[in-house]
């Protein structure tokens, strides 16, 4: 199975974008190095043939930080198959993380949300692999 592409929105304006970015980072560089990878969302937005060809038909897990769902929409637009659309806001709400940090830095509460999102993605990837 080819690697699952994990795409966070990385939203510049809110802490929820940073939560998404850090969670994706944890999955692709630590928890699921061999099974997952990420691609720059900004590169996907350019619509270049190279990235469109790469993304076409790829299984993706997206993590968005606001209702605009930029990561999910842009991944689909590039031809990817989005198997799961996660929202960092849902995790923060569930964990009652009212102040997880800022759009620049996270606090302890924020890192706990990151860990929870990353754990969820790990479970999804395991299920996709039939583990």
């Amino acid at each position: 199975m080819s690697k699952v592409v994990v795409i966070p929105c990385s939203g510049m304006g809110k802490v929820y974008g940073l939560l998404a970015r850090e969670a994706a980072n944890k999955v692709v560089n630590e928890l699921k190095k061999d099974e997952a990878e990420t691609k720059c969302l900004a590169y996907i937005v350019t619509g270049d043939d190279e990235i469109r060809d790469y993304m076409n038909g790829k299984k993706c897990i997206t993590i968005d930080g606001c209702p605009k769902m930029c990561a999910a929409k842009n991944a689909r637009e590039a031809g990817a198959e989005v198997v799961e659309e996660l929202k960092s806001t849902d995790f923060a709400k569930q964990m009652r993380a009212m102040k997880p940090g800022t759009a620049t830095y996270l606090n302890e509460e924020g890192w706990q949300v990151v860990d929870a999102i990353a754990e969820k993605i790990t479970t999804i990837i395991d299920e996709m692999e039939g583990k």
Binding site: G11, T46, K68, M69
Partner: protein, 160 residues
Amino acid sequence: MSDIKIGVVSCSGEECFGGTISRLATRKVLEDLRLGEAVTICLPLFIAGGEEERNFAKVYPTVAVDGCSKLCAMRATEKYSGKVNAVVKVDEIIGKEKALEKVVSLRELPSDYMELVDKVAQEICKEMDKISSDILKKQAEEELKNSGECSGGCCCCGCK
């Protein structure tokens, strides 16, 4: 503080260290160095958002901040929104090799990262100041032209 608001659009690249520095430098400009003067937009909103988002670079003079030579922030902004006024190329400031290093968590940033963020943030401010100055100069010239007065410089245009 100038009344002119300038848009700063960062790449936020998830694949390389240059993207992390782009993001952090842009945040530093927004919340510290040019608080109230700089505005931003999430780059992927050009596709996911509506007309309002796509008008961003038409409404605001814009600086693109790119972490690598693909220049995604600049190209995507120009493709979907409007021409950018300046581009800050992070790889030219911190070095190509460093910019292309693997992205790391904020928890594992190298000890010199703040120095790199500062360098890039200063460059963004420099471009913002240049844009503001150009706009103010243009406004002043137009005011003078409308009032029929001369700027005082020798322009040989015959104005008095």
